[in-house]
Symmetry: D2
Subunit: 327 residues, 4 copies
């Protein structure tokens, strides 16, 4: 049946970095119009609060554009109130406010027919040596997520890990630390968003992280993108690490039936083209896996890396009508 594709909606609006501002400001309606023009995309991930101020408007526009709300992305980083930390702020009121934002995101997710909230705690971390005490923030983080999760047990709350940016160290930077946090949080409605680019940036192989997460029944959401493993460049999925991408696609086809939300940043490029390329790249990967054959691939893996590589090479040689070399 294949994947369901979604777009992280704010990436269709105006973007910025340390040095520049890119693209024009676009209204919710304009962003949804772009999203629904991308063939194969049937959902959007909307950011709370920015894109979810007026819930009825959001509901109407989603219906009008025939798009599902794949997930609500609670932004606990951008607003100045979070600059010294959100769930781990030393100020108690700030921490409570951070929990309230997540709870509100969960309500909206339930209301709009998605039961999934994703949150990447990018304000919770540190930059300098001797900047924070390392024990207290961890406890605050665990407790904050527990409180939020308990408010709506029927809505799934998905933690998105990332090694750094804008903080040099983010509190949950790797798949392992996030799974460890999930164990401590100890709630069945808490899971993990695998941003494949964040996995690569953290030194992981995304396929392995996907396998570990699905084995733990914690793989709630996938953000699709790619990079050069040194930073979260948010590039078109598979546009750099094609074999890794094929490998994670292989695992996701087997173990995952949620959304693939494109967290791909167009900055200097045409947003529609960037998102359409993302769909196409996934479809090429799915077709490659299907046509080579998942069972064949699984068997070849058991015979070592040259066997599985040989399987793909033989397939490609066939499609390229190359005279064959026995591997």
């Amino acid at each position: 049946m294949g994947f369901r594709f979604s777009i992280v909606l704010n990436l269709l609006g105006q973007l910025k970095d340390r040095f520049s501002v890119y693209q024009q400001v676009r209204s919710l309606e304009e962003k949804l119009a772009i999203a629904c023009s991308v063939e194969g995309v049937t959902g959007v991930e909307m950011v709370f609060p920015d894109e979810l101020v007026d819930i009825e408007l959001a509901r109407d526009l989603l219906a009008k554009h025939n798009l599902h709300l794949s997930s609500v992305n609670v932004n606990l980083k951008g607003d100045p109130r979070w600059h010294q930390g959100a769930l781990t702020a030393s100020d108690r009121a700030t921490r409570a406010e951070a929990v309230r934002w997540i709870v509100r995101g969960m309500e909206i997710a339930a209301d709009l027919g998605s039961n999934l909230v994703t949150m990447c705690p990018l304000a919770d971390g540190h930059d300098y040596p001797f900047e924070i005490d390392f024990n207290t923030p961890w406890n605050h983080f665990i407790q904050g997520i527990q409180s939020a999760a308990d408010s709506h047990p029927e809505v799934r709350l998905s933690l998105e890990y990332k090694a750094s940016e804008p903080r040099a160290q983010v509190i949950i930077g790797t798949v392992g630390k996030t799974l460890y946090a999930c164990d401590q949080i100890d709630r069945t409605n808490v899971g993990v968003t695998l941003d494949t680019g964040h996995a690569l940036f953290a030194g992981e192989h995304a396929a392995q992280s996907a396998a570990l997460l699905s084995q733990a029944r914690r793989l709630f959401l996938v953000h699709g993108n790619d990079n050069y493993r040194n930073w979260d460049w948010d590039m078109v999925p598979g546009s750099v690490n094609f074999w890794d991408f094929l490998e994670s696609t292989f695992y996701l086809m087997r173990d995952y039936d949620g959304w693939i939300a494109f967290d791909v940043s167009p900055t200097r490029l045409d947003p529609t083209q960037v998102m359409q390329s993302s769909v196409r790249m996934f479809r090429v990967a799915e077709a490659l896996i299907s046509q080579v054959g998942p069972d064949e691939i699984a068997r070849s893996i058991a015979q070592g890396p040259m066997a599985s590589m040989g399987l793909f090479l033989t397939f490609l040689e066939g499609r390229l009508q190359l005279g064959q070399i026995a591997g």
Copy 2:
């Protein structure tokens, strides 16, 4: 009272890398003689099997050199039998043999008065995309450690994580994944070896990893060294990342009373000098923390990074008799 320092003993013998062989072959006695010549060192970590073939000889030589056995390091990577994996080998007999080696290491640790075994599973991992199935090896790893741990509940078994080398990916590469594994292993005698260089290589701040591990009561052993965060260079502790080193020393002084074993590689240098420099660097760090004042440091951390940096700067300005600038 201060730290207890140990040396990972095989680093005082012959060393090699992909391209060269360094230092001469040295007998157990010669290596222990070097270790006991290093002022401040009172223990050694010995490698099983290489350095622990003859247990009575080891016992006698340790006594003769007035050295403690800080820990037994079970080598599940070097021998060709482990090249296709040890605890995660697809071959059942190989996995069982790997468990037996750990169990034997635990017996020796008990017999020689250390109750601590450390093991870094460097053969358990992979290199290529589509090389291994990612689910089965994880389960084998968990079960293997459980079996070994249950054989001697009174001996502590400490898992040393490392991102890569010689495998491009090692099964436990980060502090988070190792704590998550400990949760699944679920044995109180299983913990973690924090190799500070491995932490840096994994993109962690060693102080944060130390705090997380001691909070979880899993910090069983510390391997001291340093690097440029891009590879496990096994350099003198604090010789690159001095502030990180001070910070982890601050946490270890507060939360840890086990051994600091120097996992520092002398290759082209004089081994005694390298190990002596390691002791001296730690003593300088301890003195700095003590003289600035752990309580003062804790208070300044609560005021942000410029406050704690200012505290250290003021101290150094004083010792350097610099005219002071109000920070």
Copy 3:
């Protein structure tokens, strides 16, 4: 006599990144007031065009605050016109405009008593495989710098290299490529800005880059900051890599008599404190080098790394009144 310290002025204003906006908007006068409140700072690096629209105002305000213009920083990245490249844009008019901006920066530098322009070509690069042809942009870059340099042979034009950001690859990413470019440009008034953090981010040791640049008579300017070698975090100089910082300070004390401009980003912190800490860190480093003794250090380097490390350890042990260990 010591270093002359400067501040890259726009860092005292409002800052942003992909996710947030930090600090308030500050006028030129407010920024200069902060700069001149930092003890030890006697200059500022001002950004063209943003901070150099009204030259007479700039002249007056500099005089009023008793600050020198250390250098003019020509910003060829931020404005949307540069998004598809500046000196290497495929559009001829855009390339000509980029040259004009540099020329204008050189005029202003001459007019305001600095004869130094620095420019970091962050829009000139690429992100994706098969995005650009790799031959033509290089030639355009060389020719563009030649044109600009020839317009004012008495003003020095300094190229600041950086591996990436916002582009995944910037056209001059390393000290080597920049020196190679200087050879091809072949003008004596063209040199290099060593941003010590950029050097670390490029995998270099800043001291080595400083030595290579001064040997080539191309070290025109130094930007002081620090990071974790994985990104341009723009942290207080020496706050992470203290030994590297000491080492580059050692070379700069010997071979360089230009400005040290702090390219340190305060985002969530108090700008004055951040800049004051930068001055203090440099003064501590200078004092350490001076008191240990540059000649002693040079001699110890000839005896290998444990000798030079021992020299510093002995000094620190003395200042900490530690009982000494013979290294």
Copy 4:
């Protein structure tokens, strides 16, 4: 006409790393027999001195196996005499001996019908801060290469750059620094070996480095392999970074007609399979480029990254018989 493929011969013998020894010891004849069993391989790169002790034997065995000598690889790192540096050793006699080894390698290259020597100066570098003076070794390096180059102006001497290993910093670590060194060496028979994995490890895009080198008429040799950009893993070319591999293949097809020597390390794998996979991967890449069309690719590059990506996607969709999406 296509590439000429060669194998770095010592990789077919016994291999080691810090922890293990892999594969059996194999005689020169055994290694050549493996090499000539790899379909598509017509040359070998032989290591001096190890594999070139008996020149007449080498000549006979090459002829017997119908293999060309693509290049002589002068090993200035492995032997203990080079541990404290080779061309940059502080000892004058050691430096002279290093030059003699290169000269001898050049003689052998001429004698055996290759006129190409490659040398990677892995012993020339440093590990610790304050370990070496940074000026003198650079000059020694330049002078040493000049002396060697002048001894046989008709033989090409190719410098292979690498960021690190076994040294934390190697004297020529990037394409830029090597081109800058070539400028200073100033000899037409001195050029550069582009090891594509070293380029990635240095943070470069190999295609860009290839373009810069061929533009400078310094691209003398290509070593083919791949890695995860964090270390020189010496994996099958294209097995990780497929798009980068395609891109560098595109440039090499256009601008290079020398050898592609596989510097791929089999350690735990079957050497024949590893080398055969390397040939197959290159042929797949060549076929892909040819069938998509180099002119088409060049035109699409001029239209931006989504255009060139779309070109490849359209091609793959066609071969996978996927219903097409307009990009």
